[in-house]
């Protein structure tokens, strides 16, 4: 589904990604961990197509196509979803209108007719239930005045609405209390199938109790320096990153 080879990216003069290799197949869950400033969000942004970053080397294949020349919206319509570490507030733009447009863009890309108003309402109701998102929130402006937990639930709600092939969730578990974490994590687990794939960027083992990863990668200074199975996350939680980083730097 996703094949990243020797990916280098920079912003201005600064090299942030320095040779990422990552292969994700349908049905898999990958966790990406690593100290702050390692380049995790940058990797997510570059895959999503954020033009702030320049790809200087390497290739990315997504669903059999060259991803890098595609603009952001095209990547989205092809089934790539990014759950933002910091979801953006958009004053005056109602959540319901925004999602309706987004859903219909995805449908158009698949050659499907736009949803009728009734179908859309039914879909919103069904999907917001997955993350127990208060129905009042969908009539409000996008993320405006949402609490931290509501913003993260709202990301997963949007993921449910768009039904992506590949979801990259950037610290969707940060800043959540135990209840919100359970709801968000259960939501993500429910949305996971054999046909799609999930990449979770996280600092915490606790999310991985719900979403059991097939692979855990450690990103450090723009490279994946170590890949293990789910037990790696446990060890990182206990022992931190030092043992890996020290190895790496020697």
């Amino acid at each position: 589904m996703l094949k990243v080879e020797n990916l280098h990216a920079s912003v201005g003069e600064k090299d942030i990604l320095r040779g990422i290799n990552l292969t994700v197949k349908a049905g898999e869950v990958h966790a990406i961990m690593g100290p702050n400033g390692s380049g995790k969000s940058t990797l997510a942004s570059v895959l999503a197509g954020n033009e702030k970053f320049t790809v200087t080397q390497g290739s990315v294949e997504f669903m059999g196509e060259d991803l890098l020349p595609m603009p952001i919206e095209e990547r989205s319509r092809k089934g790539l979803f990014l759950g933002f570490q910091y979801p953006v507030e958009i004053p005056g733009v109602s959540m319901a209108n925004f999602m309706k447009m987004a859903v219909n863009e995805q449908r158009k890309a698949r050659g499907e007719e736009p949803l009728s108003a009734a179908e859309y309402l039914r879909m919103m109701k069904e999907k917001s239930a997955i993350v127990e998102l208060d129905s009042k929130l969908t009539s409000r402006a996008v993320n405006e005045g949402f609490s931290g937990g509501e913003k993260k639930k709202n990301e997963i709600f949007q993921m449910a609405m768009l039904d992506p092939k590949l979801a990259i969730l950037d610290e969707t578990d940060s800043g959540l209390d135990i209840d919100a974490l359970r709801i968000v994590a259960t939501g993500v687990t429910r949305l996971h199938t054999n046909e799609n794939a999930t990449v979770v960027i996280t600092h915490y083992q606790r999310l991985l109790d719900y979403i059991v990863p097939d692979y855990v990668h450690v990103l450090y200074k723009g490279r994946i320096i170590y890949t293990g199975d789910k037990t790696l996350a446990l060890r990182l939680e206990k022992e931190g990153y030092d043992w890996l980083i020290n190895n790496y730097e020697e």
């Binding site: 999503a48 197509g49 954020n50 603009p71 952001i72 919206e73 989205s76 319509r77 979803f81 990014l82 933002f84 979801p87 953006v88 507030e89 958009i90 004053p91 005056g92 733009v93 209108n97 925004f98 999602m99 447009m101 987004a102 863009e105 995805q106 890309a109 402006a141 996008v142 949007q158 768009l162």
Partner: protein, 276 residues
């Protein structure tokens, strides 16, 4: 879309002479008019430039509309300008009179609104927006004169300009020496796209001391993070920009002085925003 405005307004053409009873009217802004709303009358009024307007004035059209609210009168006014024109709108309020205005200016026009509060407990409230595209030039001036003690006013004007358009907003709150216990607020918020520019000049002239006045003005650009966010969900760059601009002005329309006109106003705006 404009005929929709009329359909939904469902009102009679404004008759000549004073309005002494409550009711709902419309009026096409082709000629200057003098409108007096009698004591205690509650009036809803739609003023707009009809499609005949273009034919009427191939040169620049100029109209002066004088409105006078007698004691306790209430006016809810929606004023829509879609053609290039010059409009002077003067609104005088006697004691206890209440006026709520929504201005929607979509032409390369000049608009000057002057409101004079001349009696206790008079209140003037204005929500407005202008949208300029391409090479359009437009300017809006709002002068609120607090000539009497215990009067209040609030103005919010939003401006959007794209292409190489030039827009200007000037605001003035004047408080006369004996006009104590005044509350006045004026806000100008603007977004510019591309090479467009908007100039905003809010001013205060206050000669009394027991006064609460505030004014603020901003000119900003579209939020690139918001655009990125929307595009990540599949919206095209154009749609993402348009949605954000519509969101920016939405509160003006949502709080339209005549609630039933919300939807057709939204429609008019959506049409205009296709040209952004």
């Amino acid at each position: 879309m404009k005929s929709r405005l009329l359909d939904i307004m469902d009102a009679q053409y404004l008759p000549k002479g004073d309005i002494t009873e409550s009711g709902r009217w419309f009026y096409t802004a082709t000629q200057s008019r003098n409108i007096t709303i009698g004591c205690g009358a509650k009036v809803e009024l739609l003023i707009f430039d009809s499609d005949r307007f273009e034919a009427d004035c191939d040169e620049e059209c100029e109209a002066t509309i004088d409105i006078r609210l007698e004691g306790g009168a209430e006016l809810k006014l929606v004023h829509v300008i879609t053609h290039d024109s010059v409009t002077l709108l003067n609104i005088d309020l006697r004691g206890d009179a209440q006026c709520r205005v929504t201005e929607v200016m979509l032409g390369a026009s000049t608009l000057k609104v002057t409101s004079s509060l001349m009696g206790s407990n008079a209140h003037f409230d204005l929500n407005g927006l202008f949208v300029l595209v391409g090479e359009q030039r437009g300017s809006v001036e709002v002068d609120v004169n607090h000539l009497h003690a215990e009067t209040t006013s609030r103005t919010l004007f939003k401006g959007v300009a794209s292409g190489v358009a030039r827009g200007k907003f000037s605001g003035m709150i004047l408080v006369e020496p004996d006009a104590q216990r005044i509350l006045a607020e004026q806000t100008s918020r603007n977004i510019v796209l591309n090479e467009a520019q908007i100039l905003t000049e809010p001013q205060l002239e206050i000669y009394a001391d027991d006064v609460k006045c505030s004014h603020g003005a901003t000119v900003g650009q579209l939020d690139s993070d918001a655009i990125l966010y929307m595009r990540q969900r599949g919206l095209s760059l154009e749609d993402a920009k348009r949605m954000q601009v519509e969101g920016f002005v939405s509160d003006v329309v949502m709080h339209a002085a005549i609630e039933r006109l919300m939807e057709p106003l939204q429609g008019l705006l959506s049409e205009k925003f296709k040209q952004l």
